[in-house]
Symmetry: C2
Subunit: 223 residues, 2 copies
Amino acid sequence: MTATPVTDAYTPTDRTVPTRSAKRAHYDRETVHSILDQAYVCHLGFIRDGAPVVLPTLFGRVGDALYIHGSTGSRPLLAAGKADPGLAVCVTVTHVDGLVLARSAFHHSINYRSVVVHGTAYQVTDEEECRMALDALVDHVVPGRSADSRPANAKELAATAVIRLDLTEVSAKIRTGGPNDDAEDMDLPHWAGVVPVAPVYGAPEPAADLAPGIATPGYLAAL
Amino acid sequence: MTATPVTDAYTPTDRTVPTRSAKRAHYDRETVHSILDQAYVCHLGFIRDGAPVVLPTLFGRVGDALYIHGSTGSRPLLAAGKADPGLAVCVTVTHVDGLVLARSAFHHSINYRSVVVHGTAYQVTDEEECRMALDALVDHVVPGRSADSRPANAKELAATAVIRLDLTEVSAKIRTGGPNDDAEDMDLPHWAGVVPVAPVYGAPEPAADLAPGIATPGYLAAL
C-alpha cells in the first residue's frame, strides 16, 4: 500500500491569483515555506468593529500550519477565541531584496519575496499542540533555541493564547532582476540598476546580568 | 498674526492605545515620521468581500499624508475609487532591530519599531497632487531620485491610481533593550541577550543595458 503523495503545490484560488503580474505568483510549497521560514515577523490582518487591523507579530510554522501567539488579553487572540467558527485573517510576510531604479519614475520598483495566506484562525485548545507551537515560535526566531531555554510553565501557558492558521489558500509573489524600462527611455542619462538590501546580524550582545562563564551558543553563529 | 502651531503629537484613540505594553506606545510626530520614512514597504490592510486582505506595497509621505499608488486595475485601488466615502484601511510599517533571547522561552521577543495607521483612504483626483505623490513615492525609496528620472507622462498618469491616507489616528510602538527574565530564572545556564539585525545595502548593480559613461549617482552613496 502506497501513501497518498502530498501534492507539492497549493491550489490557486480567486483570492490568490493576482490581477496583475501573474507571472510573479508561485504556489509550490518549497517556495512558500522558504519565504515564511526566513521571516521573524508576519503582518496579521483581521477585522475589528468593521474595520481592518494589521499588526506585526511573531509566528511559527509546523508543516502546513502557522502558529501565532500572544497574551490571552490581546485583541486578535481574544477575537479568535470568541469568534465562531474562528477568526477570518490574512497573514502576510515580506522580504525586501533590492531597490530597483529605472530611467523612468514609473518603472521604479523593489525586488521582494512575499507570501499571503488567507483563511480562518482557530484558537488551539490542546495543551500538547500549544507546547509544540510555542517551541516552533522560538525556533522560528533562532533555530535550535527552544531546546536551550526554559519551557513555558503552567502559569505561562495559561496566560498565552495560540491560534492556528492552516496553509491552504496561500501564494508567494517574487520580483527579481533589473529595471524594466521602456525602449524609448534607454538613451536617457539616468543611472539604472538595483541596490541590493538584506538583513544582517550584528555580534550577539550578552544581557548585562548574564552570569559569567556562559558562552555565546554555537547556534547563534549559524545565523 | 501668528499661525496656529501644529501640535507635535497625534491624539490617542481607542484604536491606538494598546491593550498591553502601553509604555511602548508613542504618539509624537517625530517618532512616527522617522519610523515611516526609514521603510520602503508598508502592509496595507483592507476588507474585500467581507474578509481581511494584507498586501505589501510601496508608499510615500508628505507631511501628514501617506500616499500609495498602483495600477488603476489593482484591487485595493479600484475599491478605494468605488467606495463612498473612501476605503477603510490600516497601514502598518515594521522594522526589526534585534532578536531578544531570554532564559525562558516565554520571554523571547524581538526589538522593533512599528507604526500603525487607521483611517479612510481616498483616491487622489487632482493631477498636481498625483504628481507630487508619485515624486514622494520615488524619493521615499531613494531620497533625491525623483529629480534624476523621467517623470510620469500622460499615459502613465492615466494608468496609475494614487490613494491618500491622512495621518490622524496613528501610533508607534517600540521595544528596545535586553530580555526581561523573571528573577527566579536568572541562575539558569542559558545564554541571554540580543542579536542585533539591520538592513544593509550592497554595492549598486548597474543594469546590464546601462549606457557606458553613466556613473553611479552620489545619492546612492548616502544610503
